[in-house]
């Protein structure tokens, strides 16, 4: 029971922290799961991010299901996924209620907030980039491989379907990175 309560609290926090789309959530996920709870190692963290990019659904939701399952079985997966979705919905419902009661143009205030969020979201994604870049470490093989993937990413097929790029890179990894 304790485990489920902790899972619910952690993923409620991650859900509320999920501003500005999937990638900007990555620093939240890492801070909570790797640094604070120690549920994932750095290596496992980047595996979860890769897995989330290959499957449907936002990163935060995918991480909740995966880590919830690992920590607390199927019940853990259900609780974590529900928490990551429901917590921000409570905030949104409260905000919608406040806005419906507020006089004047709420749109202007939302716009102001959005403008202020934009550089913050850019910084979150920049930090996320550093977090996935760092595990490459000093292994020159990985840097060459990443450069090759970058080259391949310019092809039209991969521009259109980024998931294919992940699968192709994974397949190539099975050959060249064993």
């Amino acid at each position: 029971m304790m485990t489920l309560a902790v899972l619910a609290a952690v993923f409620a926090r991650i859900g509320i922290g999920a501003f500005g789309g999937g990638l900007a959530t990555i620093p939240f996920i890492r801070h909570e799961l790797v640094i604070m709870q120690g549920w994932l190692s750095e290596r496992e963290f980047s595996e979860v991010v890769s897995l989330a990019q290959m499957t449907p659904g936002p990163v935060a939701l995918n991480a909740a299901t995966y880590v919830g399952y690992r920590v607390g079985g199927v019940a853990g997966a259900v609780v974590s996924t529900a928490a990551v979705a429901a917590a921000p919905l409570a905030v949104i419902a409260a905000a919608a209620w406040l806005i419906s009661r507020a006089s004047g143009r709420p749109g202007a205030r939302i716009e102001k907030m959005q403008k202020a969020l934009r550089p913050v979201v850019a910084a979150m994604i920049l930090s996320a980039f550093w977090m996935v870049l760092r595990p490459l470490g000093g292994d020159p093989r990985l840097w060459v491989f990443t450069l090759a993937v970058f080259g391949a990413s310019r092809l039209d097929v991969f521009k259109k379907y980024p998931q294919l790029l992940l699968l192709a890179a994974g397949g190539a990894g099975m050959i060249f990175l064993r």
Binding site: G57, N62, A95, V120, V132, S153
Partner: protein, 177 residues
């Protein structure tokens, strides 16, 4: 709109939203416009609303659109439909992954895929930074501040976000469009 239709619409969208909410936004907008029940500005307002508030965009979008289509029951059904495909996919893969992640083939697959994640996020960073820089020195300063709080000081992202938003609001003035 009947609840079953709302559910299956979002189940389909949930299964298709690789790459998160932004992709879903485009698909949903098309669906709602085609249904002819919603005004374009009504749809745009909803999209703006979802990005200014916390939570995964796909889930927020399902909640707001579902409520517009069939009230609170519609919202519940839409959120469930959106979550179900990714939930089941990961649940299935998690079982397999926990068993096989230490096999050299599986682990080298993820090493390779990890390099592709670097490339993909790098591309997003590049386009985001271009927008931030074109937004002027106030935005650039905010990016630097938040990045330093996160990476150099290792603060909890909540603190970094709150500090960054307050900092940008205090600076006022123009910004990126």
């Amino acid at each position: 709109m009947p609840l079953a239709r709302v559910f299956f619409l979002f189940l389909r969208l949930g299964a298709l939203t690789f790459g998160g909410g932004i992709v879903m936004m485009g698909l949903l907008q098309k669906e709602m416009e085609n249904s002819g029940r919603f005004k374009t500005e009504e749809i745009i307002d909803m999209m703006v609303f979802t990005t200014a508030f916390p939570g995964p965009i796909a889930v927020n979008l399902a909640f707001l659109a579902g409520r517009k289509m069939a009230g609170m029951a519609g919202a519940a059904v839409a959120v469930t439909g959106t979550i179900l495909p990714p939930f089941l996919t990961i649940l299935l893969l998690a079982r397999l992954l926990i068993l096989y992640i230490n096999r050299p083939l599986v682990s080298s697959f993820f090493t390779g895929a990890g390099c592709a994640v670097v490339v993909i996020i790098g591309g997003v960073v590049w386009s985001m930074l271009k927008i931030a820089v074109s937004g002027g020195w106030r935005d650039v300063l905010t990016v630097l501040l938040v990045t330093a709080l996160l990476l150099a000081l290792g603060l909890h992202p909540f603190i970094a976000v709150a500090a960054g938003v307050s900092f940008r609001l205090v600076l006022g003035g123009g910004g990126s469009q």
